[in-house]
């Protein structure tokens, strides 16, 4: 039983195989093979008349056999030709690529090209216009019209300036192909043979070509950054100096899109003029009467004086209106409605970052009405470079600019609670102020040299450029030589390891009233300055000739602390480099006393006769003389004190005698 069953199964299998083979044979016998097709379609004479035109129907068999579709057979595309015997019915429907490439066809249908095709635009490209027909090869193939090097030519067939398509269609960009070939991308493609550079399809896509006004377009303002960053992935790193890079990804509407600086088709590292938008803006904003009526009824002029802008640094750098006023939107009417305040950080990221950390910036963050904004110092449309002498930030104009708020009585001075007053007035009188405004010495320090332009902070803030710990560095920007000298003096923290407060530049030189060190005013101040720490030494100095004379008119000429001790290079006498060291002290005194000698330098410049232990000779001399003085005065004081009453008594007695004599005389006369 079992054997019989096995035999029957095997027979069944054979039957099936046979049937299948037969079926294939039957089908083969019924279908048209590629050879069948080519039998006819390689004949050059195979033509057909269509609307009076002769159309060739021959196919280059070799090219077809080399195409990507070679394995698909003719009839897989030309379905109607799949008949048992030639000839096939005629005419046949167009080959529909969507049969196989349905996903791409769908995208294409929505594209600019697809829509044009839908509208029967005679210039609308079909698949074959770009890809070819029977000879379609892989886009890796150098012969493919879609091979990267050939893309500009393929697109250029229609988009070349002067082509029938460009003559009949309004394409906003002109000379596209020419510009592209001269752009950094075109150069990369043609001259460097770089197959990774961008061609038309890299930005516009191959099948989903859309106008830039379409928000879905890869070249729309919203998407173009993403498009560029397909290749320029880390471009924000390269732009941090100009643009706060991360904004491109987080808030792209806030920043200029790539193409706003690097014109599309003309992209190079240099920026191209894009003044078209400016003219558009000025259509309205060039009108001096243009006003905005605000919610509270106030009027705000929206007029932009083009003259101002013409001389501005932004004009020079070819910055278009829309590059600052970024929130323009074609959906709005007018396009700039509610575009809001200009954010300078879009381009000046680092500077604004510094500003935000400054007192000015922190006030601004609190919406303080006194807070100065970028425009308060730099202006708006007429912004000029700091090297332009007309600019409010030109060094010579800075005191006036800062003074507009910091002058006594102005808003910044009114809220200031520190000890510095009449800052601007004092500055103008100082060596820096006079150097700058009177002598026109442009290296003289103005406000911003010490306080910085954007990071100004109160001196109490450790981050401040004028903080005790930073001021030497600030002064050293110009006075490097002195700072170097100072760094090896006893006052430098690198020499004196102490917890005591060491002096810094402005302790002696003041901050805003800095004067030449040889002026009477400054020389008079030295004693006060040194005296704040060296009180005892200053007191004893004032007991000597130098000190006493220095308190009188013309006293600035006598030796002050720094004349003997040195100023920036000051060191205690036990340092061999010290002015007061045994090796140098004779020379030091010689500056004023040409006859100075070794013994002469033994003069005690800080002597006091009040210190018996330190200066016994002086002490005893003083008390000796004082004893003499007291003794003399005591004796003659007593002498006078007793003499006086006696003298008066004698005089009264004499007067009485005199008058009695007179009376007696008179009596005699009467008698």
């Amino acid at each position: 039983m079992l054997k019989v069953t096995e035999k029957q199964d095997w027979m069944k299998l054979l039957l099936i195989i046979f049937a299948l083979l037969l079926a294939v044979q039957v089908q083969n016998a019924a279908a048209m093979t590629d050879e069948d097709c080519l039998d006819c379609h390689t004949d050059p004479d195979l033509t057909v008349e269509v609307d009076g035109k002769t159309v060739q129907l021959n196919v280059d068999g070799d090219k077809y056999m080399g195409s990507v579709h070679a394995d698909n057979s003719c009839v897989s595309c030309h379905e109607e030709a799949d008949v048992d015997e030639a000839p096939h019915p005629y005419p046949m429907a167009r080959v529909d690529c969507a049969n196989c490439h349905d996903d791409i066809a769908e995208i294409f249908a929505n594209s600019l090209h697809g829509q044009a095709l839908e509208k029967n635009d005679p210039y609308a490209p079909k698949c074959i216009d770009c890809h070819g027909k029977h000879d379609i090869v892989s886009l890796q193939d150098k012969n493919s019209p879609t091979y990267i090097l050939n893309v500009p030519f393929t697109c250029g067939r229609c988009h070349q300036e002067g082509s029938p398509m460009t003559l009949t269609h309004d394409i906003p960009k002109k000379n596209i192909l020419k510009n592209f070939s001269m752009s950094i991308h075109g150069e990369g493609l043609y001259r460097k043979g770089l197959t990774v550079t961008a061609v038309c399809t890299s930005c516009h896509t191959a099948h989903n070509v859309l106008p830039h006004t379409d928000p879905n377009s890869t070249i729309s303002r919203l998407n173009v950054v993403k498009t560029c960053m397909k290749c320029h992935a880390n471009i924000e790193e390269a732009h941090t100096k100009i643009v706060r890079g991360e904004l491109w990804e987080t808030e792209p509407h806030k920043v200029p899109a790539c193409v706003e600086c690097h014109g599309p088709h003309q992209a190079r590292r240099v920026l191209y003029e894009d003044s078209l938008n400016d003219l558009f803006c000025l259509k309205c904003h060039g009108n001096p009467d243009l006003k905005l009526i605000m919610a509270n009824g106030e009027e705000k002029s929206l007029f932009v004086n083009v003259e101002d802008f013409e001389h501005s640094i932004h004009k020079e750098k070819r910055i278009a209106c829309a590059k600052c006023h970024v929130n323009v939107d074609h959906q709005k009417n007018p396009v700039c409605r509610d575009s809001g305040k200009v954010d300078c950080s879009i381009c000046h990221a680092q500077v604004v970052d510094l500003y935000n950390k400054s007192t000015h910036g922190m006030l601004s963050a609190k919406d303080d009405k006194n807070a100065p904004l970028c425009s308060d110092c730099h202006g708006t449309h007429g912004i000029m470079s700091k090297s332009n002498s007309e600019s409010p930030i030109f060094a010579r104009n800075i005191p006036e600019l800062c003074g507009s708020c910091h002058r006594e009585g102005e808003k910044a001075a009114l809220r200031y609670t520190g000890t510095q007053h009449d800052i601007i007035k004092h500055y103008q009188m100082s060596i820096h102020g006079r150097g700058l405004s009177q002598s026109g010495l442009m290296v003289s320090a103005s406000c911003t040299n010490c306080h910085t332009a954007h990071s100004m902070l109160p001196s109490s803030n450790p981050e401040s450029s004028v903080n005790r710990n930073n001021i030497i560095e600030a002064c050293a920007q110009c006075h490097l030589g002195i700072a170097e000298k100072f760094s090896s003096s006893i006052h430098s923290p690198s020499v004196s390891k102490t917890d005591k407060k060491l002096p810094v530049c402005n302790d002696c030189h003041t901050s805003h009233t800095i004067s030449r060190h040889d002026t009477a005013g400054f020389r008079g101040l030295i004693l006060d300055e040194c005296g704040t720490c060296h009180e005892h030494e200053t007191d004893s100095y004032f007991e000597t000739y130098h000190g006493k004379a220095s308190m009188l008119s013309g006293g600035e000429k006598t030796a002050k602390c720094s004349d003997c001790h040195g100023s920036h290079d000051i060191l205690p006498a036990y340092y061999s480099e010290s002015n007061l060291n045994r090796r140098h002290v004779v020379e030091t005194c010689k500056k004023c006393h040409p006859g100075s000698n070794r013994k002469f330098t033994g003069y005690l410049t800080h002597a006091t006769h009040h210190d018996r232990d330190k200066y016994p000779y002086l002490y005893y001399t003083f008390w000796g003389i004082t004893g003499l003085l007291v003794g003399t005065f005591a004796f003659f004081g007593i002498h006078t004190l007793f003499w006086m009453p006696r003298s008066f008594r004698e005089r009264f007695k004499k007067r009485r005698e005199h008058s009695r004599e007179n009376i007696l005389k008179k009596d005699d006369d009467w008698s």
């Binding site: 006493k548 006293g555 000429k557 002469f600 003069y603 001399t621 007793f642």
Partner: protein, 280 residues
């Protein structure tokens, strides 16, 4: 009293009057310029300095008047030499003579008598040509010029002096110079002024050092011994002189009052400053 009745006697010849004029001019200038430096921290000192221009002007005046001082110091020896030669005595006799400027035993006696008189324990002494306080004033100038002058020279030429003396001696010289000057000016502007000018008998000033003459009446009362000696020697007529011309009398008073005013102002300033400085 009618004018012709007042008789005048010659007390000072022109030479000592001229010397005292030099003393006044130089001493006042030295005191004002020196005290301005000593009390430099006082406002009046700065007023003085700015009046003269600067402390350097004060310094120059001080040094110039130092030269004047050394000059009258030297001239005084000339005067003494002349007086000695006139007297026809030996040097020792001249020095020990009762009319000599050098203090002697009689002066001590008179000093004691004076104190007794102060307390009403006796009559006023019969003073002679020179009272003991006048001799003290005179001798004090010798001491003062010697001490203040020598230390002043050291301060004037410290670079040369320190070729010999140690540097710190300059500090000592400063103390001596300054405090001795304080003594000198303090003494002149109080004691000398009182003894000579301001005491009731003389008030407000005695112009004899300028005019050289004094009323005979005054000689009789103030210097009875000298008067008696003159009378005894029959020399009174020799010293009787015509009264000083009116204009010179006025000039003397103007000059004298000016000097008194300057001196008193300065001493008030000094006393005020010392109290103020010590209180401070």
């Amino acid at each position: 009293m009618d004018e012709p009745q007042v008789k005048y006697v010659q007390r000072f010849t022109i030479f000592p009057r001229f010397l005292h004029f030099l003393v006044i001019i130089s001493f006042l200038t030295l005191a004002v310029s020196g005290m301005a430096l000593k009390f430099a921290s006082e406002r009046w000192a700065e007023t003085v300095a700015s009046f003269f221009g600067s402390f350097e002007v004060l310094g120059s005046l001080h040094r110039f008047m130092a030269v004047v001082t050394f000059t009258y110091f030297a001239l005084n020896f000339v005067l003494m030499y002349q007086n000695w030669r006139k007297s026809g005595k030996s040097m020792l006799q001249f020095m020990l003579h009762k009319d000599s400027m050098i203090p002697n035993l009689n002066d001590a006696k008179e000093l004691l008598q004076t104190f007794k008189w102060f307390f009403g324990m006796g009559p006023q002494p019969q003073y002679g040509r020179w009272t003991y306080w006048e001799k003290f004033d005179y001798m004090a100038v010798f001491w003062g010029v010697a001490v203040i002058g020598s230390t002043g020279l050291a301060l004037w030429f410290p670079e040369q002096f320190t070729l010999v003396i140690p540097g710190y001696w300059i500090n000592i010289a400063t103390i001596i110079h300054s405090d001795e000057a304080l003594l000198a000016s303090g003494f002149i502007f109080t004691i000398h002024f009182f003894n000579t000018h301001l005491r009731p008998e003389k008030f407000p000033m005695d112009p004899v050092i300028f005019t050289g003459t004094m009323p005979l009446d005054e000689l009789m009362h103030e210097r009875p011994r000298e008067y008696a000696e003159l009378v005894a020697a029959g020399k009174l007529d020799e010293v009787i002189v015509p009264p000083t011309p009116r204009w010179f009398f006025v000039v003397s008073h103007v000059f004298g009052f000016t000097a008194l005013a300057i001196g008193l102002t300065l001493v008030v300033s000094i006393i005020y400053s010392m109290i103020f400085l010590y209180v401070k």
